[in-house]
């Protein structure tokens, strides 16, 4: 599907003075796409040039359209010497490639220079004409929609949630190429920006292909990250959840849906034959998942390619497979791809059963991973760390066993296997009602790796011996490098999967991956929440009808997800179970940790609050393997302590569940930092948490006793105060039914570590500080003392403030439309003398607490207000520097209605849930009855044009105002949330994914490091807003600053910063305005339904 890209350069304004003599500028513009460049005329002597150029036309194929950014360079013409560059604008034209999104990009863009920052603005109009092309071997994936939002986007409905997609691409980092020594910093920065832009385009296209192969049309929860590995290169990787989305055409009613599906179908360019069977295979009964299960496999397996994510469906754990229904997959198509997957499985096996090379003294592959769920630490660790060699055998045997069992669990059938999704992961954190059946707990895995140079044959070193090199080579298709990184991640994902399985869960939700790099050491982390999902939304309908029935019937309101998914008699770890406090039928754990958002139907008592665990550990400086060993040795202890802190703080708050848990471990030269953030709540379904008891080691000492009891009192007081503060007043429970609400004294938390070092014993590490009472803190040394103190030093936010790191705050539901998104960065320098762990902890703790206090102070005018989606990121840019970056949104709420009971809230959401369900069931019927006969539009191109008109006009109407002299710039809201309070998102315009570098050689003149970074972040915001406005949008949702890498060299008066941000550009309409619109809608809706509600933007 080649296309024609058309660009028009209209005008510039506020240009910098480039000619000192005249105080003016002779500006012209170069427009470059791929290898083609056009130029405008020189507009002499003006700081506000009016070029009004012709349309520059680029004829390109869609692969380039997806990969390449449009590059606009503004220059100052100089007759005698080289023209001076004023700055550049990179425009990602991807949003123009899918129908439904933006149809034109038009507006003022800041002209950006990596050395000088923003220097004026330029007005540009960009359009794309796509030609329909049915080449099925094409490499592009135009038409697949991308969303950063980690829930089903607001104006869409999920027809099918296919599952996990991932991809990564690598390249050399231009900053580290030899040419960098002879080129200017500007050229180097621009090369880097351009390369990353290209790589993200390529990555997105590749992911899009995978989605098309899965017959999906969208990626939700798309998270793309850069690993700046330095010498060894640049990795761009992304994960997401493939879905088939269906646009809700009218915000008010669902009636028009009968028209839209057929249209939707054609918007998936791949669908040369809009096949209604994809969604409904004929059975006239719209019953449940049956309708989804049949035919997809046909088209689907045919297209499976070399991609390494298995294009298949929900894996089920064995118990579920025993039902009457066997898989419905027709065998022939699956065979076609069977070999590939067999190969992969072989790889898995051979990799894990690889005998260690006897002669290699040290195996540099270091891998230590720890995962935990609730109070469980389940750790399968160490593929030969440090001492390596001899102990490899048993461990590998274990791994093999795991792998095999995994295969067996997949049903033991090769057909089955190849139809299975390799990783049943979902990057979503919020789900359609009824999707989430049970939640098991948090699963996480980490692994320490040594980085090595790209394309260097010596990367054999990564695997430690030549045999592994061959193995990898045999496996890799194109370049060696991505396979290595792929293998790293595959390993981790495998582990996550097995942890989930251990919890009796077949899926992982709220899944995310991250890295922390310091020099040549890299920690890869992945975490998620083990869960049991309702298969109705998944393409593969293998779960038996009867099972589902059971689930349906027994799914009590607001507590179902808390019920344990694992077998009570065969628990994977010791836990204390009680009957659910809500329905009293099923068992629940006493504490629940998850990485997802609070389900909307969850019954919560009181409000929630942000809970953080902070931790530092000193580490000796070391090189390569020794360093990696040191880190992997520290990791389990850090996980353990972070977990303990979280647990203590949760109890101190009188709460029993954590949502949105995110644990970040950052590696630096001489220390490791751990920061866990989560939102604590009191779930009505779970038992009341017991208190915290303090016990001294030396009970004879009188004053000590006194001190202890004093401490105990303080803790009890704090708990009581917190309960009041967060309005936690659980109803009294009659003891006969539940049994003692206070958990019986028993062993609570334990760490199960299978250690491969030294001996092969499996040690059990007790997490509960002794087998004492409910939750006992034993004070036996100063360390423990510090711990208790630090517990008590966390100050609650000032009155009128709440904070959470989830999307919304439980217990508050009357948001006003006043929102303020912000980013705050702090860097502290530690005094290098005799740092101890305690001092370090205190410094770090103070840093975070002070930062929060500052935020509360700054935002005091918004009271009553809640800081939502508080996202802390820690990095260690240098030896003694700690950098903390926070992005969050403050939302004001209406105090008067704040006391609205949660009950009505829940009822409402339940109602919504039930209606949604009904719609869901009806949908396939509507689809098949309508899509076949009616073909109102010829394929793709016509659709685009048709779609273009209403929105296009709207855009121009919107924008006709700003360029004219006196009006101000339209406000663009930014928020890390997926919604805008008090408003309805009517249209998603495409993903915003931007990467900027800023450098200065005059740091002092720009106001020092603070001035430099402050200006840069403000500029980044400005560029994001400008791009959104140019797309015709008025907000960015699910905004995230994924990276903020800051480096300084004050001695040289230099600094450099890299920032990567992303989000979804949207159009929203205030709810008050929307009501007017929807009453007018019926008349407008006679025409193509999808335009309804958008014209009004």
């Amino acid at each position: 599907m080649p296309g024609k890209l058309k660009v028009k350069i209209v005008a510039g304004r506020h240009l910098p003075v480039m000619d000192r003599a005249s105080d003016l500028t002779d500006a012209f513009v170069e427009v470059k796409f791929g290898n083609t460049t056009f130029k405008t005329d020189v507009y002499l002597k003006s700081l506000n040039p009016q070029w009004n150029s012709e349309w520059f036309k680029f004829e390109v194929d869609d692969e380039d359209l997806q990969d390449e950014p449009l590059q606009i360079t503004v220059l100052d013409h100089d007759t005698y010497s080289a023209n001076d560059a004023i700055g550049k604008v990179y425009i990602d034209i991807d949003p123009l490639l899918y129908s439904e999104a933006a149809t034109v990009i038009s507006g003022w863009f800041p002209i950006y220079d990596t050395i000088h920052g923003i220097r004026g603005e330029i007005n540009v109009v960009v359009k794309v004409d796509l030609f329909n092309d049915l080449n099925r071997f094409r490499q592009s994936s135009c038409g697949v929609k991308f969303f950063c939002t980690t829930s089903i986007p607001k104006c869409y409905r999920a027809v099918i949630i296919h599952g996990f997609v991932e991809e990564l691409v690598v390249n050399e980092d231009p900053e580290y190429q030899w040419i960098d020594r002879i080129r200017t910093p500007r050229a180097s920065n621009e090369a880097r920006q351009r390369l990353i832009s290209l790589m993200s385009g390529e990555l997105q296209r590749k992911i899009g292909l995978k989605v098309l192969e899965m017959r999906g049309n969208a990626v939700v929860g798309y998270l793309q990250c850069f690993d700046l590995e330095g010498e060894s290169g640049l990795v761009v990787r992304a994960i997401g959840t493939a879905c088939t989305l269906d646009k809700l055409s009218s915000p008010a009613a669902f009636l028009p849906a009968c028209n839209s599906p057929s249209k939707e179908m054609k918007e998936i360019p791949f669908n040369e034959d809009p096949n209604p069977n994809t969604h409904s295979s004929g059975p006239s009964t719209p019953l449940k998942n049956q309708t989804y299960s049949f035919s997809p496999s046909k088209s689907y397996s045919r297209q499976s390619s070399s991609s390494d994510t298995d294009l298949s469906l929900t894996p089920k754990t064995a118990p579920y497979l025993q039902g009457p229904r066997i898989y419905l997959c027709p065998s022939s198509p699956s065979l076609s791809c069977g070999s590939l997957h067999l190969k992969k499985s072989c790889l898995l096996l051979s990799e894990s059963s690889l005998p260690p090379h006897p002669s290699s003294p040290v195996s540099p592959v270091l891998r230590k991973s720890v995962s935990f769920s609730e109070e469980l630490f389940l750790a399968a660790s160490g593929m030969g760390s440090g001492s390596a060699g001899k102990e490899g055998g048993p461990f590998k045997a274990l791994l093999r066993q795991q792998t095999q069992s995994a295969l067996e669990q997949r049903g033991g059938s090769p057909h089955r296997f190849c139809r299975r999704r390799e990783f049943p992961f979902f990057t979503l954190t919020a789900f359609p009602p009824g999707f989430l059946v049970h939640v098991g707990g948090v699963v996480s895995a980490r692994s320490v790796k040594l980085l090595d140079r790209i394309h260097n044959p010596a990367f054999v070193g990564i695997m430690g011996n030549t045999r592994s090199y061959k193995l990898l080579d045999w496996n890799s298709f194109n370049s060696d490098e991505p396979e290595t990184r792929d293998a790293w991640w595959a390993e981790i994902r495998q582990e996550i999967k097995s942890h989930a399985k251990a919890l009796g869960c077949h899926a992982v939700v709220g899944y995310s991956e991250s890295t922390s790099i310091c020099e040549e050491v890299c920690i890869l982390s992945a975490s998620g929440t083990a869960a049991v999902l309702n298969p109705r939304f998944l393409q593969d309908g293998t779960v038996e009808g009867c099972l589902e029935q059971r689930l349906e019937e027994n799914l009590p309101a607001g507590c179902g997800f808390c019920h344990i998914p694992y077998d009570e008699l065969n628990m994977p770890f010791p836990a204390h179970l009680t009957y659910c406090y809500n329905c009293r039928k099923q068992k629940v754990p006493d504490v629940l940790f998850t990485t997802i958002d609070l389900p909307i139907d969850a019954t919560v008592i009181g409000k929630g609050c942000l809970i953080q665990a902070r931790l530092c550990r000193l580490k000796k400086k070391a090189q390569a393997e020794a360093n990696a060993t040191a880190i992997s040795n520290l990791l389990p202890f850090m996980e353990y302590e972070v977990h303990t802190q979280l647990m203590n703080k949760l109890k101190l708050k009188g709460m029993n569940a954590l949502f949105g848990l995110r644990i970040q471990i950052t590696v630096g030269e001489n220390m490791l930092m751990g920061l866990a953030s989560a939102t604590g709540v009191y779930l009505a379904a779970l038992p009341t948490p017991g208190g915290i008891q303090i016990a001294g080691k030396t009970p004879n000492d009188g004053s000590y006793e006194q001190h202890i009891s004093h401490m105990q009192k303080k803790i009890n007081d704090t708990i009581a105060k917190n309960k009041e503060l967060y309005e936690i007043n659980p109803p009294e429970v009659s003891e006969e039914i539940i049994g003692s609400p206070i958990p019986e004294p028993r062993q609570r938390s334990r760490l199960l570590r299978s250690q491969s070092e030294s001996s092969d014993e499996v040690t059990e590490l007790d997490l509960s500080h002794g087998k004492k009472d409910a939750f006992v803190l034993e004070i036996d040394d100063t360390d423990a003392m510090e711990d208790v103190h630090s517990l008590l030093t966390d100050v609650p936010p000032p009155s009128g403030f709440y904070s959470c790191n989830t999307e919304i705050m439980p217990g508050i539901n009357n948001w006003t439309s006043e929102i303020q998104m912000f980013t705050s960065v702090r860097v502290i320098r530690l005094s290098s003398l005799n740092l101890t762990n305690q001092a370090l902890n205190k410094n770090f703790n103070d840093l975070c607490e002070n930062l929060l206090k500052s935020l509360y102070f700054k935002l005091r005018s918004m009271i009553p207000c809640c800081l939502c989606h508080v996202n802390f990121t820690v990095s260690l840019p240098e030896d003694e520097l700690i950098q903390v970056t926070v992005t969050a949104v403050a939302i004001t709420f209406d105090k008067n209605q704040a006391l609205q009971t949660t009950k009505t809230h829940v009822e409402k959401s339940l109602q919504r849930a039930s209606t949604d369900n009904e719609e869901l069931l009806q949908f396939p019927l509507e689809l098949c009855s309508d899509s076949l006969p009616s073909h109102p539009f010829p394929p793709a191109k016509a659709v685009t044009v048709e779609k273009a008109s209403p929105m296009g006009e709207g855009n121009f109407r919107n924008r006709s105002a700003p360029p004219c002299a006196n009006s101000t710039v339209g406000v663009v809201k930014m928020t890390p949330l997926s919604f805008i309070p008090g408003a309805k998102i009517t249209k998603y315009l495409g993903i915003i994914n931007m990467f900027f570098i800023r450098e200065t050689t005059s740091l002092r003149e720009e106001g020092g490091v603070s001035g430099f970074l402050h200006a840069f972040i403000a500029e980044v915001f400005a560029m994001v807003r400008a791009h959104v406005a140019a797309l015709g949008g008025n907000a960015v949702v699910s905004y995230i600053m994924k990276q903020c890498v800051f480096m300084e060299n004050p001695n040289k008066n230099q600094a450099q910063c890299l920032i990567n941000v992303s989000g979804d550009a949207v159009v929203f309409v205030r709810e008050s305005e929307l009501e007017v619109v929807s009453t007018q809608q019926p008349t407008a809706n006679c025409q193509p339904s999808c335009t309804g509600g958008e014209v009004t933007t």
Binding site: R826, V827, T968, K973, G1011, A1018
Partner: protein, 359 residues
């Protein structure tokens, strides 16, 4: 543990009104923090001094970045870097006062050349007025910037200022006066002029801009509102005959005296001083051909008219009656042909004198 870097950037730029004022008033960060502590904000919010320090620093940094844009307020409207709601933008520029100025300060520099030389004197002005040097500099630079921009422009001075600096009508008029005074270098600093307020001068400036500049006759000329109408000033020499011609002077006096007899409390003083006053007013007009004398306009007016009347304790109302009659009676002087000229001169002067006549 020291903070190396500490920033807060909002999607909507946060602007704290109090801190903005402190910044405009030229306080250093530490002074501003001290003042804020004194205001009791720590008790109200439960914040710590460190938090306040960080907050103040942050605001100052923002203001510093904003300042470049405030220099050309229309840029502030179009710029993309800081998202500030339009209502707030107006506050920044005017009501909270980037372009607001201190009366005490403006009195010091009014009519002075807005040059480097004057800028050097800001130190003294700062000590004298108690306004921080920073604030003095800002105000001075504002005057100078506005002056530079509108100096050569066609069209109404007030309109130009309003358009290019987005000021309210009131403030734009004040700036017009400042520009007008600076351009014509009217002397305002003499001791005998100390009793006059900026408002007095601004009032006179407005009248003079309306009647005595080029723009008053031809709206298509450059510098129309800033420069006095040279031709008009030249012509004013013609008025001299009103005092030079003894018959005319006597006739004028008798006309005024007849009309005012019994109506003025200070009739006899008026009668006695008529010729002096008239000579004073007409000579002021005749001298306006020289730049030097233009500069001394207000000194002359005070010396030649305000002071004599004040020493005889004329009530304001008597001054008004006298000036009205004095201007009007000229129309009855048959031998005098420059009625229009007289009206253009005296109409404005009468307004000015009435405004200048107070203690």
């Amino acid at each position: 543990m020291t903070s190396e870097l500490d920033i807060f950037v909002g999607n909507t730029t946060l602007i704290d009104e109090d801190v903005y004022r402190l910044w405009l008033d030229g306080y250093s960060v530490s002074d501003a923090v001290a003042l804020r502590v004194r205001s009791g904000i720590l008790e109200q919010t439960g914040a710590t001094a460190a938090v306040l320090q960080s907050d103040t620093m942050d605001h100052y940094r923002t203001f510093h970045m904003l300042e470049r844009l405030l220099h050309a307020p229309p840029k502030l409207l179009h710029q993309l870097i800081f998202q500030i709601p339009p209502s707030r933008q107006a506050l920044l520029i005017e009501r909270w006062g980037y372009y607001a100025f201190d009366e005490a300060f403006v009195r010091e520099v009014l009519g002075k050349k807005l040059s480097k030389g004057t800028k050097k004197d800001l130190d003294d002005i700062s000590t004298k007025t108690g306004i921080t040097l920073k604030s003095c500099r800002r105000q001075f630079d504002n005057f100078k910037r506005v002056f530079k921009v509108v100096e050569e422009m066609r069209g109404s001075l007030v309109d130009n200022i309003q358009q290019h600096f987005l000021l309210s009508d009131r403030l734009a008029r004040d700036y017009a006066a400042i520009v007008f005074f600076a351009n014509n270098r009217f002397e305002t600093g003499k001791k005998k002029l100390q009793y006059l307020s900026f408002g007095d001068f601004a009032f006179c400036a407005e009248l003079m801009i309306q009647n005595w500049t080029l723009g008053a006759v031809d709206s298509q000329v450059d510098d129309m509102d800033v420069d006095l109408d040279k031709e008009f000033l030249q012509d004013l020499k013609e008025l001299k005959m009103l005092v030079a011609d003894k018959d005319l002077l006597d006739l004028h006096k008798s006309l005024v005296c007849t009309a005012l007899r019994g109506k003025l409390g200070v009739f006899s003083e008026m009668e006695a001083n008529f010729k002096n006053l008239s000579r004073g007013l007409v000579n002021v007009a005749a001298k306006l051909t020289h730049n030097k004398d233009v500069r001394d306009l207000f000194v002359d007016l005070v010396e030649k008219f305000v002071e004599p009347c004040r020493s005889d304790h004329w009530p304001l109302n008597d001054v008004r009656l006298f000036l009205n009659q004095y201007s009007a009676s000229v129309h009855s002087l048959d031998g005098f042909r420059h009625q229009a000229l007289w009206d253009r001169y005296m109409g404005t002067l009468r307004g000015c004198l009435l405004r200048l006549y107070h203690d």
